[in-house]
Assembly symmetry: C2
Homo-oligomer: 148 residues x 2
C-alpha cells in the first residue's frame, strides 16, 4: 500500500504523535493538528491537567494557534485533525471558526458532539474513522493504566 | 425595592459592565463574571475580534481566569454570570468545569445552547432572564450600529 504524503492518514499520524505527548504527561491522550494548503500550521495536545483548565483541549489549543498563525479567526481553508471525536465545546469552537473539514479518528459515544446532532458549521465537511483503532488504543491504554 | 448586595441582579450588573467594555471596543457586547463564596473571582468580556480567536468568548475567558484563581479546573462552587445565553462551546466548557450555577440574562434563540437540549452538567443549576432587557438592549445597540 502506498500512502500519499498528504493523505488524511498522514496528518492523523501527526495528531497521534501529539496524543502520545499527552499520554507521556499523564493527560487524556488526544492530539490535534490543523492543516492549510497541505501544511501543518498548528499542533497541540490535551493539557487540561497541566494548565488546570477545562478549555485546554487539543482542538481548542490547535484552533487558537492556527488562528494566530493565519492572523484570522476564520479558518475556512483549514482542516482540523483530531484523534478522538470532539466534545460539544470543541465542535462549537470549530463551528465559530468555520473550518473547512473536521477529521477525527475514534468515536466517543459518551462525550462526543454527535449525539447532539450536527453542531458543526453547515460548510464544514466531517470525516470520521481515520486510524480509529490506533486512536482508540491510546485512550484505552490511558484508562487501563488509570484504573490500576 | 431593595436589592441584596449578593443578588443575581447585582452580579449581572457586573457582567453588564464587562459587556459595555466589549461594546466600547467594537466587540459583540457580552460580559461575564464568576462568583465563588459571594466574591467575584473573574471578570471578562468578549474579545474575539481583538484576539482574532473564536474561542475568546466572555465565558471562556472568565472560566479560565476563575480556574487559575482557584487553582482547580473544577469550579463546582462557582456561579457563572453571563449577559447572554451561552453558545454550545461555552455551555460545553461550563459542563467540563462542572460549575454550580449558570445565570444568564438575554436569550439567544439562534446561537444559544438551549436549542440543542441541556448541555450543562447534571449538577449545574440554570437561571435565566436576569436583567434580560438590559442585556438584550446592549446587543441590539451593537447590531443596529453595525448595520448603519
Amino acid at each position: 500500500m502506498t500512502l500519499s504524503l498528504y493523505s488524511d492518514e498522514q496528518y492523523m499520524r501527526e495528531a497521534l504523535k501529539q496524543a502520545r505527548y499527552a499520554l507521556a504527561e499523564d493527560e487524556i491522550p488526544i492530539g490535534a493538528v490543523v492543516v492549510m494548503d497541505k501544511q501543518i500550521i498548528a499542533r497541540a495536545y490535551n493539557q487540561t491537567e497541566k494548565l488546570r483548565d477545562v478549555t485546554a483541549h487539543a482542538e481548542m489549543l490547535a484552533l487558537t494557534a492556527a488562528a494566530n498563525f493565519v492572523g484570522n479567526k476564520y479558518l475556512a481553508e483549514c482542516t482540523l485533525y483530531v484523534t478522538v471525536e470532539p466534545c460539544v465545546m470543541c465542535a462549537g469552537a470549530s463551528f465559530w471558526a468555520q473550518v473547512k473539514r473536521v477529521v477525527y479518528g475514534a468515536s466517543e459515544e459518551k462525550r462526543g458532539f454527535r449525539r447532539y446532532g450536527n453542531l458543526l458549521h453547515p460548510r464544514t465537511e466531517l470525516v470520521t474513522g481515520i486510524l480509529a483503532d490506533e486512536c482508540a488504543a491510546l485512550m484505552q491504554e490511558f484508562f487501563t493504566q488509570k484504573r490500576k
